[in-house]
């Protein structure tokens, strides 16, 4: 999968957990999920679990440490879908 294809599937997942005062227009590949999009840590877990379902992959605790912005998520998804 290309980064663009991953992003197309990823964006609606992130949108679901955006706080009401953050517009979906603010989502970009450089967006920091917690600092800029203001997603709380509990919803970050929901996003990971949805990603696991949509892409049929599994995240480990150490993956969470590398996850800051949307591009980090895309890179992780790319690595994991390749590994299957």
């Amino acid at each position: 999968m290309t980064s663009e294809e991953i992003y197309t599937k990823l964006e609606p997942i992130i949108k679901t957990y955006l706080p009401e005062d953050v517009s979906a227009k603010e989502i970009s590949r450089k967006s920091d999920l917690t600092r800029e999009l203001n997603i709380n840590s509990a919803h970050l877990v929901d996003i990971i679990l949805d990603i696991e379902d949509v892409f049929n992959i599994e995240f480990k605790n150490e993956d969470m440490e590398q996850l800051r912005n949307v591009d980090d998520a895309i890179l992780l998804i790319k690595q994991k879908t390749l590994a299957i």
Binding site: N40, S41, A42, L44, V45, L49, F59, N61, M64, E65
Partner: protein, 148 residues
């Protein structure tokens, strides 16, 4: 695991401890009880001359048994000596019947998942007649534990 140990590990005390007893616990579910003593102070104002247990307090009781006691059990193999601290992250509860002063309730919580420090459970509360008082979903994050 000794059930009293779980209660001793709780970060609450009177007047905000809403767990009397843990009845059973496993990797998948927990059950416990609490009796709302007649002299709890909030009954004076909720409501005037008509004491009924507030929904937020029922929710708190469900969270203390169904999430915090459960979390202490699920983290039993952690070597940290620090007491766990669980922050409520979301609740969605429907209420079906009132709880009056002196009533004993039972809370049953079933794990949906416990991953990346987030514990999400389906929780219900029953009265002595086994009628459903409240049920819903509660989740929380363990805030003082670093991801391994």
């Amino acid at each position: 695991m000794d059930y009293q140990y779980i209660i001793d590990q709780l970060p609450y005390s009177e007047p905000f401890l809403f767990v009397d007893e843990v009845l059973s616990v496993s990797e998948d579910n927990i059950s416990g009880t609490y009796t709302f003593k007649k002299d709890l102070t909030f009954y004076e104002g909720h409501f005037k001359d008509n004491p009924v247990t507030p929904g937020v307090i029922l929710t708190e009781c469900m969270a203390q048994i169904g999430l915090v006691c459960f979390g202490i059990y699920l983290l039993k193999d952690e070597t940290s000596s620090e007491k766990i601290n669980l922050a409520l992250s979301s609740t969605e509860i429907d209420f079906y019947c009132p709880v009056f002063p002196g009533e004993k309730v039972k809370v049953v919580s079933v794990k949906e998942y416990f991953r990346f420090n987030k514990l999400k459970c389906k929780v219900k509360m029953m009265n002595a007649k086994d009628e459903i008082i409240a049920k819903g979903t509660i989740s929380g994050m363990i805030v003082n534990r670093y991801l391994k």
